[in-house]
Amino acid sequence: MRQTIVRSVAELPTYGYGPRSGPWWGAMGFMALEGMGFAIAIGAYLYLYAVNPNWPIGALPPDLWPGTTETAVYLLSIIPNEITNRAAHRQDLAKVRAGLVVMALIGIALLVLRGFEFAHLNTRWDNSAYGSIVWLILGLHTTHLATDVGDTVVLAVLMFTRHAKPRRFSDVTDNVFYWNFVVLAWLPLYVLLDWVPRL
């Protein structure tokens, strides 16, 4: 087919932030389906809760301190996360490097805390359906946490190499964005796992 050039896009930038960029929407898509996964798992928990007269089944509720400490760390982590975000928008490489390292360390600390949380659930996955769903939900969120920490570590390393080009700042902001999702997803799970059994 013949073509008529009607406009030029030569002056457009080659990367962008937030909803302008493709990867941001990709992250959004994965958050949507992972969020749905959490919603389904929560639904399964509530179903089992509804059909069982005794809850938790044959166990004490989880000890509060690991989950509560985690929740506090999650909420506080939003601050360095947002600082990293702003640095990335400013393309301030030094600050971004520092921010990523801090976020990676926070992530690792949370993984350690998560280990304690598993140990203080007061039930095993094979004790009862209660134990099973609790382990499944916590496992699901731990997978998210671990994946994001892995991602953050790799990105942090990347930003210390020659590949730390301007477009990587966009990747950093997407990483920040995803971390917010990990935090946000945790809050209802914390209520569900630590407080619902105490109702």
Binding site: T14, G22, I40
Partner: protein, 637 residues
């Protein structure tokens, strides 16, 4: 640091014609050789593989169907043992749903959507390649298991407790559950790609109300996949955990409940039907406009219907559970919600009828399949209204009436449009036309064969024949109708053989198609057949819902994209205003390696939970390889 790349970079505004094509082809082509083929991230190459693989699974699933029809052709036949039969009907359902119907629709979307929205490649091309490999490995895993007599035999729905370790101590149920995981990963990945492609990669000017209906259909489908499939992932994971590490999700003696499985399964399972059907409606709209020689009437009505169908499809899963002893009032409400989905489906049918009424139809093979679709699908939809009624369902649930119903809906609603789509779009994909003569034979054989095969099943169900029985006794009066049905199934199978012959003939001797053999209106017909690796030499500018009908001889395009590296144009979500010239990934072997590592992880984990430990590092390594910049121009900016 900011905007422009190196100032001396070559752009497509200084090249023209053949020079431009050649240069773009050099940048965008898949590397040659076997290794190159394994690295391909071209949506057309991956899409073609996806389509061929899905059809291969259709063939396998079809062979199983014929085996079942032979066994059921008469009473007390011993052609298949109970054990084989149970494996075969499970394999048939699982193959058709998970390895054919959903993937083939996504395959067409992977191939067509980027072309129809006027871009060079799908969003996240490497994820796309990874998705294909996962689909392929998952499908092969299921079928190889079957050939080694470890094929699942618990039904495509794998109800617990039958699929629990206690009642299925072999690996058969694990194979089923893990196949689900494979195909869901693949489907979820494609869905995200399609959504982002439609949101961000549309040609400038393709505002929301100029998006082709097929693309709209695939967008809605992708959202359905994203919100339905997590449910089956949770289900299959919990089943595997029950079987492997002794969790108690489905063990009533420890607080678990078998109905939890059914809720999780059908919360996915019912939208699944629309995940298969909605792309079919998109194909119908595309074909109808071209062959009725006018745009489809009621474009906004159709889009709203698609969206309404999508929403409603999440509110009726319980109609699969009417006989599980749920509270009666609740069940009654689900009757109403299930029937209500007839309204958006009906609206679409009315729009198509009006289009045909006002159009000047050209009766080529694709249109024949669309007409066959209307006749068959409406019948299936109406029997669907019947099974939505609680009292009627208590009789027909789990009988051949339901088998008839969903084959009318799925074959009528999805496979007939799909066959129309093959006749319609294959010329674009291969550059050669299919034989019209064989095509007509194909259609009539399929139409007649299908109805003879499946109509009698309605009656069989009403006169008491349950599903999933490997045989029945002579005194049951079911023999004649079953024989008739088996005969029809053979005719129907023959129609697919004819399609295969037609495709092979076309590949060798088919008439050359040219860019736009049907004088169609959408952008995929604005490029050559088959399209070059870059899709389009220049990105089109869209000013009308039917650009090729509105623009006449000359296509408006944009210029200014790089011809030295892979670049696609990102536009805004609603108005499709150009925003970014974004780099598009180069071919890479890492998606394949990641898929291999994931496969080892998945298959290993049905044998030992430790696979989760030793299976993770290879996945992590391959993923880092995938995302680590290679220092190529695309990456460094």
């Amino acid at each position: 640091m900011s905007m422009a790349a190196e100032p001396n970079e070559l752009r497509d505004d200084v090249l023209n014609g053949l020079q431009l094509s050649t240069q773009l082809e050099r940048v965008w082509r898949t590397p040659s050789g076997l290794f190159g083929a394994l690295m391909s991230v071209d949506h057309k190459v991956v899409g073609r593989r996806y389509i061929v693989t899905a059809f291969a699974f259709l063939l396998l699933g079809g062979v199983l169907a014929i085996l079942m029809r032979v066994q059921l052709a008469g009473p007390e036949k011993t052609f298949l043992s109970a054990d084989k039969y149970n494996q075969i009907f499970t394999m048939h359902g699982s193959t058709m749903m998970f390895l054919f119907a959903v993937p083939v629709m996504e395959a067409f979307a992977v191939y067509l959507v980027p072309l129809m929205v006027g871009t060079r490649n799908i969003a996240f091309p490497r994820l796309n390649a990874f998705s294909y490999w996962m689909f392929l490995f998952g499908g092969c895993f299921l079928w190889i298991s079957f050939l080694f007599n470890v094929g699942p035999d618990v039904g495509w729905f794998a109800y617990v407790p039958l699929s629990n370790l206690q009642f299925t101590p072999t690996k058969r149920a694990d194979v089923w559950a893990q196949m689900i995981t494979f195909t869901e990963v693949a489907a979820l990945a494609v869905s995200v790609e399609i959504v982002v492609t439609v949101f961000k990669l549309r040609a400038p000017g393709m505002t929301l109300d100029r998006i082709p209906l097929f693309v709209w259909a695939m967008l809605v489908t992708s959202f359905l996949v994203m919100f339905a499939m997590p449910s089956i992932m949770v289900a299959s994971t919990s089943l595997i955990l029950d079987r492997l590490v002794n969790t108690r999700f489905y063990d009533p003696s420890s607080g678990g409940h078998p109905l939890l499985w059914q809720h999780l399964f059908w919360f996915f399972g019912h939208p699944e039907v629309y995940i298969i059907f909605i792309p079919g409606t998109g194909m119908v709209s595309a074909i109808l406009a071209t062959f009725a020689r006018r745009p489809v009437i009621g474009y906004p009505v159709i889009i709203l219907s698609l969206i309404a169908t999508g929403f409603l499809s999440f509110g009726l899963w319980v109609h699969h559970m009417f006989v599980t002893g749920l509270p009666q009032l609740g069940a009654g409400l689900f009757t109403a919600s299930s029937m209500l989905i007839a309204v958006p489906s009906g609206l679409q049918i009315f729009c198509w009828l009006a289009t045909l009424w006002d159009g000047r139809p050209v009766y080529r093979t694709p249109l024949l399949f669309v007409i066959g679709f209307i006749v068959i699908f409406v019948l299936g939809g109406l029997s669907g209204v019947m099974v939505a009624s609680v009292p009627i369902d208590t009789q027909v649930h789990d009988t051949y009436f339901v088998v008839a119903h969903f084959h009318y809906v799925l074959i009528g609603g999805a496979v007939f449009p799909l066959l129309g789509a093959v006749y319609y779009w294959l010329p674009k994909i291969t550059g050669r036309m299919l034989s019209e003569r064989l095509g007509r034979w194909n259609f009539w054989l399929a139409f007649v064969g299908f109805n003879i095969a499946f109509f009698p099943m309605h009656i069989l169900g009403l006169i008491g024949m349950p599903r999933r029985v490997y045989t029945y006794t002579a005194e049951m009066d079911w023999a004649h109708l079953n024989l008739l049905s088996s005969g029809g199934a053979l005719l129907f199978a023959l129609s697919f053989a004819l399609l295969l012959v037609n495709v092979i003939y076309s590949l060798r001797k088919g008439e050359l198609a040219g860019d736009n053999p049907w004088s169609a209106s959408t952008l995929e017909w604005a490029t050559t057949s088959p399209p070059p690796p870059q899709g389009f030499d220049r990105i089109p500018v869209v000013k009308h819902r039917d650009p090729l009908w509105a623009d006449g001889e000359s296509l408006p395009v944009v210029a200014g994209l790089s011809v030295e590296r892979r670049e696609v144009l990102l536009t805004s979500l609603a108005e499709a205003e150009p925003q970014i010239r974004e780099a598009s990934p180069e071919p890479s072997i890492w998606p394949l390696l990641t898929a291999v590592a994931t496969t080892v992880f998945f298959i290993g984990s049905i044998f030992t939970p430790w696979a989760v430990l030793w299976g993770t590092p290879p996945m992590a390594v391959t993923l880092i390889g995938w995302f680590w910049p290679t220092g190529s121009k695309e990456d460094e900016e």
